[in-house]
């Protein structure tokens, strides 16, 4: 277990960029499929297995995150920015795990089959119930908007570190340390 002070470990970096693509795709798929009169069938078939894939990857990522401390933020970073970074990371981890679970629970409460692909179904995790469905369906949208806003802020902050502060924070996730043995 090499502990590299300047960079995230390879597992963290691979998971980060893979999930960045998946989550951004998922948010756009989700918002498109609930509004489109044409694309819903195709997108909803993509949305469910992708959501469960994100849930599984998020669990692996959380495990890795707890075993490997991330590199510290620069000492000269203003306190409010450091606090915002920590808070947004907690929100991102929370929602990566919560969104798929809320989606799964919501379909269960709506009496829908939870189909991964043809012939493969997940069991319901809640009873068929109007009040639960209504609450979870609203929560799924609301949390998606919060997640999207957090992702956009996270991306903007990362680019601010890359282009304006030029303090190596972006590079900590973009590449490994030249001397680090992974």
């Amino acid at each position: 277990m090499s502990r590299d002070a300047g960079h995230f470990n390879l597992t963290a970096r691979v998971l980060h960029w893979l999930m960045a693509v998946l989550i951004l795709t998922m948010l756009f798929v989700g918002v498109t499929m609930v509004a489109s009169l044409h694309w819903r069938p195709m997108l909803v078939d993509l949305h469910r297995p992708l959501g469960i894939a994100i849930l599984l990857l998020a669990l692996v990522r959380l495990f890795n995150r707890l075993r490997h401390r991330p590199p510290p933020l620069p000492a000269d970073l203003p306190a409010w920015q450091a606090a915002a970074a920590h808070a947004s990371h907690w929100v991102l981890y929370g929602l990566m795990l919560a969104m798929p679970l809320v989606g799964w629970a919501m379909l269960s409460a709506g009496g829908y089959p939870i189909q991964m692909w043809k012939g493969v179904l997940l069991p319901p995790i809640l009873p068929h119930d109007v009040a639960l469905y209504a609450a979870l369906r609203s929560a799924h949208s609301l949390l998606a908007y919060v997640l999207f806003a957090t992702v956009v802020l996270h991306l903007s902050a990362a680019l601010f570190h890359l282009w304006v502060r030029r303090d190596g924070v972006f590079q900590a996730m973009a590449k490994g340390s030249p001397s680090a043995s992974e």
Binding site: F28, K118, A135, W163
Partner: protein, 364 residues
């Protein structure tokens, strides 16, 4: 990396960097974030409110009649039914779906009338409908929503929305503008043909002696991987009896429910489910064009209904009969109306479930 930096900057790598202007970079970041937010908002339907989305379509349906919170936006009045489905070997040869192999698949369904009034008179509704949920023992589901009309009135989603808009009552008269309805009939030959069907086809006396048509096309794939495009229908075993205008006028408000309940008291009510197989060149993605009469017909199974309960508190009431919830062996076609129905049913379901949960529904 060092080579790149050296040649690009044309200076010693260790030389102090010239100060950069953060404003340009901040503007670029704002641009990237802005593009993402705008794309998200546009796809969500929050920008360009005149764009046809699931929400605007559902709003249009709601505008065609009075609001009835807690009820389905279309086919609002109906009753829950239950029974079973027994598939045939011919059905199993067409589709690998478990429903055609299993003995007695349990069925939950809903018989309803067309229109958005949950308190309307049963006998006044031109369109009657049957929705079913078949759950086979491998856990897979087949949901279908069928209608008594033999073909859809319009060919595309855009036309469907146009037709629905034309049905919004004129505030002056409280009725749809006949000129707008005539314009739809003039523009779409199928809408005109639908009008002819509505005027001339005899009305049946019961939900039980009505034929229900899937109208949209689906793909059946068998165990060998062979696929056929089909449309299905429920043909009643109860003999057809016509109901004339005078009988309809005298019928009670809940005539169809009451009549069906009386039938069930005497015994189960049955339909045969038949598939019509498309031939090359048939309009597989246009539900407004019926296929020729001589197409191959295959009996898929027999539906037996044994019980009816009111929809208020009934098991079918909180179910979305999304026609694209299908088991392995059955898939949707590229019929655009099928995608639109699936999308609008989902939005309608979300709205009424929220209304029911927040207690906004009127006493049922």
């Amino acid at each position: 990396m060092s080579l790149f930096r050296y040649t690009r900057a044309g200076r010693e790598p260790d030389a102090p960097r010239p100060p950069h202007s953060p404003l340009l970079w901040i503007a670029l970041i704002a641009l990237i974030a802005g593009v993402l937010v705008l794309a998200f908002a546009w796809l969500a339907g929050w920008l360009g409110r005149d764009r046809a989305t699931v929400q605007t379509f559902t709003d249009t349906i709601e505008a065609t009649g009075a609001n009835h919170p807690g009820f389905r936006r279309a086919h609002s009045k109906g009753a829950c039914v239950s029974g079973s489905f027994q598939g045939t070997p011919q059905g199993a040869a067409l589709s690998a779906a478990r429903v055609f192999r299993q003995q007695q698949v349990p069925v939950l369904g809903r018989l309803s009338i067309g229109g958005g009034d949950p308190h309307g008179a049963d006998a006044n509704a031109r369109v009657r409908s049957m929705a079913l949920q078949l759950v086979s023992d491998d856990g897979q589901e087949w949901r279908t929503a069928m209608n008594s009309f033999p073909f859809f009135a319009v060919p595309t989603t855009e036309a469907f929305l146009e037709q629905t808009r034309a049905g919004i009552p004129d505030p002056a008269t409280g009725k749809p503008d006949p000129a707008k309805m005539a314009a739809i009939a003039a523009k779409y030959p199928s809408a005109k043909a639908f009008g002819e069907w509505a005027k001339t086809a005899p009305w049946s006396t019961s939900w039980a002696n009505t034929t229900y048509n899937g109208v949209n096309s689906f793909r059946f794939t068998n165990a060998d991987g062979h696929t056929e495009v089909v449309r299905w229908s429920m043909r009643p075993l109860a003999p057809f009896e016509a109901m004339d205008a005078e009988q309809r006028k005298q019928a009670s408000l809940d005539y169809l429910s009451d009549e069906f309940q009386q039938r069930l008291a005497k015994g189960p009510v049955q339909w045969e489910m038949w598939a019509t197989i498309a031939a090359a060149g048939d309009a597989v993605n246009d539900p407004s064009i019926p296929w020729p009469e001589d197409r191959r017909q295959v009996k898929l199974g027999t539906l037996t209904l044994t019980a009816l309960q009111p929809q208020a508190g009934g098991a079918c009431n909180n179910l979305n009969f999304d026609p694209l919830i299908l088991p392995s062996g059955i898939a949707g076609s590229d019929d655009p109306i099928l995608a639109a129905r699936s999308a609008v049913y989902s939005e309608s379901f979300n709205r009424r479930e929220r209304e029911l949960a927040s207690g906004k529904e009127k006493a049922q």
